[in-house]
Every structure is written in structure tokens, then in C-alpha cells.
Amino acid sequence: MKMNSILETGVTDCHPASAPDYTPIEQLRELQLRRLQAVVARAWRQVELFRARMDERGLGPEDIHSPEEIAKLPFTEKSDLRDTYPFGLFASPMKEVVRLHVSSGTTGKPIVVAYTKEDLDVWTSVMVRCFAGCGLHRGDIVQNAYGYGLFTGGLGAHYGAEALGATVVPTSGGNADRQIMLMKDFGVTAICCTPTYFLHLIERAAELGVDMKELPLRAGVFGAEPWTESMRRHIESASRVEAFDIYGLSEIIGPGVGCECRRHRGLHIFEDRFYPEIVDPTTGAPLPDGAEGELVLTTLSKQAMPMIRYRTRDITMLLPGRCECGRTLRRMGRIGRRSDDMLIIRGVNVFPSQVESALLEIEGTLPHYQIILTREQGLDQMEVQVEVTPHMFNDKIGALQGLHQRLQGALDHVLGIRVRVALVEAHTIERSQGKAKRVIDRRTS
């Protein structure tokens, strides 16, 4: 009760870990420059690919004299992680790497990201700043329903909430009935999960006769997929939860690149750790604050795997002006769309090209296929329809079922999520101008 009454007076952000959020601008720019110079020097020394690209441009690490000069540096793309799989972009020897995480690549192989002990400490510190900005503190009971494992969401949120001093309930994803039971029995006050998973929990709770509004749950830190203001209104009307948008990506660190504060006017980027730019997605030219474009991020203090000007493919803008909360950190708008064809399904990144590589692996040739996304009871479902070709077809049911299972297995393996595979008749997938539309997204937000 005491905690709630403090929150209701609007006194927030009292956590000492939040101090860097309020660094005076000039001091922040100075810090950014110093860290940028150091990380560029480190990448130049340790990462062959980066040094080669700098050499091509006649650039050395001493050529950065202001944060804005970052625009001279070469971009890093997701394909660079694929091409150097698994360890080619590491800037630390393996004996200093204490953790590896894995995220979706664009083909059959995933991408690998590495952390030193110091990197993990930085990650935890930005997650603490996220939670503190959401008004959470010691005494909160945080249910962490992000998946634990190779995905950065689970462990990132876990260590952050622990370091904040909160009590963590590491439920991981899945098993909605148990999530709701624990939420109720433990008096959970905050939840971390994808926004669509929370929508699913809301629906399931109603079916179980649990009134979300009666629970002490008052904050939700939702990320790993884009969501909308209308979803926020839905969540906040069906529960007492104040919904916060959190942003991150494995290539940069995981969750904790940026997060909303209680003003909910964009996501503060932890600029002392991650340098944001907005560029034209076609030309790569830098765009000013307030202009929509692709978010490009540079890790300012990452050791094991520094990312210089990483193209996130997320389309957003840096909001001009300062937030009323007093933080000096710039804010980015919600991610509305992407400049590539990446899909996010139950928080997992999926590329249509991964589906293609799995089908090719099984069939040897690429059959016509279509990905159909729907939302059932708040949960994303992905169906891959595959046209049966004469080459695949067999008059024995067992052979077709075997094919079905092989396709299912290959897709589950490559995508890391359960998908539905449907064998459909030839020429039934609609083609526009001879080319099939690969993705039909029927999810409504």
C-alpha cells in the first residue's frame, strides 16, 4: 500500500541507477565522444571486417572529433553478422566472453552475440534504468514472462529486475494458466512480456474467472515486438496495468536500448551507452531529429562485440525537444514498421527468407508458399501454406504425412517457434503479376 501511495503522488525515478538519465547535455555529448572514440579504436584494432572498411575509406580511429562525425563511419548490416558467423565480429578473446546469445538470421543460420562481464553489467544497468523509469523499485514483484534461453529478452529483464532489488518470478513464456495462478497467488505487481502475450493473458484470465482489475498488477513492460496506442488503451482498460514500451535488439545488447518513462511520450534511449542516428533507409544519409527514417545504433561501451552504425531496419524518428520528466536523453517514437521484410511473431524475429531456406533444404526446389499470420486469443499464429508440386506428391498417405512432418521439423528448427504447416493444392496460392505474395498479415492491433 505504501508503495502504491508513493506512486500515486507522481514521485518517481528516485532510483540512484537513474542518475545518468539526467546528465547535462554538454557533459553527455562529451561522454559520448570519448566512448565513441574508444569503441571505434577497439573495433578497428580487433575486428578485421571493420578495419578493412575503414581502410577502404581512408579512415582511422583518430578521425572522429565530434559525435556527429560518426556519419563518416561505415555501416554494419545484419548480413555482416551472417557472413562472419559465428565469431567473426568478436573484439574480445573467448576467455573474456562470458555469455553468448543467439537471434534469428535471415537464412538457416542464426546470428551470435557475445558479452564480457562488463558488457553484462552495462546491460543490467540499462535494464535497471528502464524499470526505474517505469516506476518500479525494491518491493515490486516482477513476473518475467519473456522466454529464457538463447533469446535475450528473458535473461536481460531477469538480471535487470533483480539488480533493481525487485523480487523476480522467472516464469518464462507459455502456460498461461500457471502464469495467471502465480500472478494472483504471489500478488505480482509488474509483468514483463510481449504485449500480445499480455493480451492473451487478459483473455485467459477472463475465461478462468480471474478479474485482472482486482489484482495488484500495476505495471507492464512490453517489448520484443511493435505495438500500438490502441493496444495500450485496450491493455489499460482491461487491467490496472500502466503499459510501458521497451526497445532493444540482440545485436546491440538485447532489451534495454530504450524505454518509456511515465510520461509515455516516446522511448528514452540510453544515449550514454547507445548512440542513435536516423538515416534515409535508401541512401543512408543522416536525417535530423523529427524526420522519419531508419534507426542506426552504435554501441558506445560494448567490448565483446562492438556494433558501429548498425542498421536496425526499424523505422522511427528521434523526437525533438526534451521530455517533461527531466531526462536529458533523447526519445525515439514507437517503431511502426521496418524497412525490410522481417516479421515478429510472439516476440521472435522471422524472415520469409528463413522459411525459403527451410523449404529448399527439404524439397531441393522451392515450392510456392505463403505465410499467413493471424491472432487467435491474443496470440500470434503463423501458418506456412505449401503448394504440393508433382515432385512432392505421392499416392501414399504415409509419404505425404512424412513430407508434412519433415517440413514442420525444418521450419520449427530454423525459426525457433512452432508454426503450422498446411499442404495445399497447386496453384491455389494467389499470384499477383506472376509472383506470389509471400506474407498475408491478418493480425489486427
Partner: protein
């Protein structure tokens, strides 16, 4: 001795059997026997038709996925134990029946069963050695 059977992939949805059957009707092709093997999601329609070449051509022209498989039409005495005797001839030979179904006409007092064997040549040799009659396609389709 081998009979050409057409197999067709069909989704398990209303109307998905009617479309190919209607096409064959329009071309004057008679379906002499058929069997639908199904799962929840899809099925395989197997047919013995009066003119398999024309039927395959018509179906393929309409973008159906068709497979031609060789099956055997086996005469089975139409009395208790008739089938057991036929199957008995195959016992211990390792010849595997992939699937089988009935042909809806009697030939005198003989029933006819359609067999799909993994190795049809081995099956022909074995059945004939056991004195079991196999029908050629002209005989099967003459009625």
C-alpha cells in the same frame, strides 16, 4: 497385368473432390473405381478411369497435381476365406501391400480388389504362381 491408377491431391475442404470429378465428366471419362484416403487436412483421391491418359492430361491442364501409379487388379473368389487365400499366397514373401480397395463390380462369381504393392513385379510373379488371376486393363474396363 498392371493397371494405371490416377492419384490426385485434394485439400480436405468442401468442393475439393467435386471439381476434378466434374472435369472428367465433361470429357466423358468414366470413373470405374475410386478410393479416398484422407487425413484431417488433405486427402488423396485414387481413381481407375476409362481413359487414364486423357484423364491425366485434362486434370494437369487444369493444374491439378496428378500421379500415375501402377496397381494390380486381383480376382478374389467371392466367398468367405477368398481374400484370406489371396493374402496367404503373399505371406512369408516380404511383399508389402501399400494399400488396397475394392472394385465395385463382380466378374462372374469373382470379386475384384485393387492392390498397390511396393514391388508390383514380385507380386505378379508370386500371385500368378499361386494360380490367382490378375486382370489386364482391357478386361477390367470392358464393362
Amino acid at each position: 497385368m498392371k493397371i494405371q491408377q490416377l492419384s490426385l491431391f485434394a485439400e480436405n475442404k468442401p468442393g475439393h473432390i467435386a471439381a476434378p470429378v466434374r472435369l472428367l465428366a465433361r470429357e466423358g471419362i468414366d470413373i470405374r473405381s475410386m478410393y479416398l484416403a484422407d487425413t484431417q487436412q488433405y486427402g488423396i483421391l485414387r481413381m481407375i478411369v476409362s481413359d487414364w491418359r486423357k484423364a491425366a492430361q485434362v486434370l494437369e491442364a487444369h493444374e491439378f497435381v496428378v500421379k500415375v501409379t501402377e496397381v494390380l487388379a486381383v480376382e478374389v473368389p467371392d466367398h468367405p476365406g477368398g481374400l484370406a487365400d489371396v493374402l496367404g499366397a503373399l505371406e512369408g514373401t516380404g511383399i508389402n501391400i501399400e494399400y488396397m480397395y475394392g472394385f465395385p463390380y463382380l466378374l462372374g462369381d469373382q470379386a475384384i480388389l485393387i492392390f498397390r504393392f511396393a514391388d508390383p513385379d514380385a507380386a505378379i510373379a508370386r500371385l500368378q504362381a499361386a494360380g490367382i488371376n490378375l486382370l489386364a486393363s482391357e478386361e477390367l474396363l470392358k464393362r
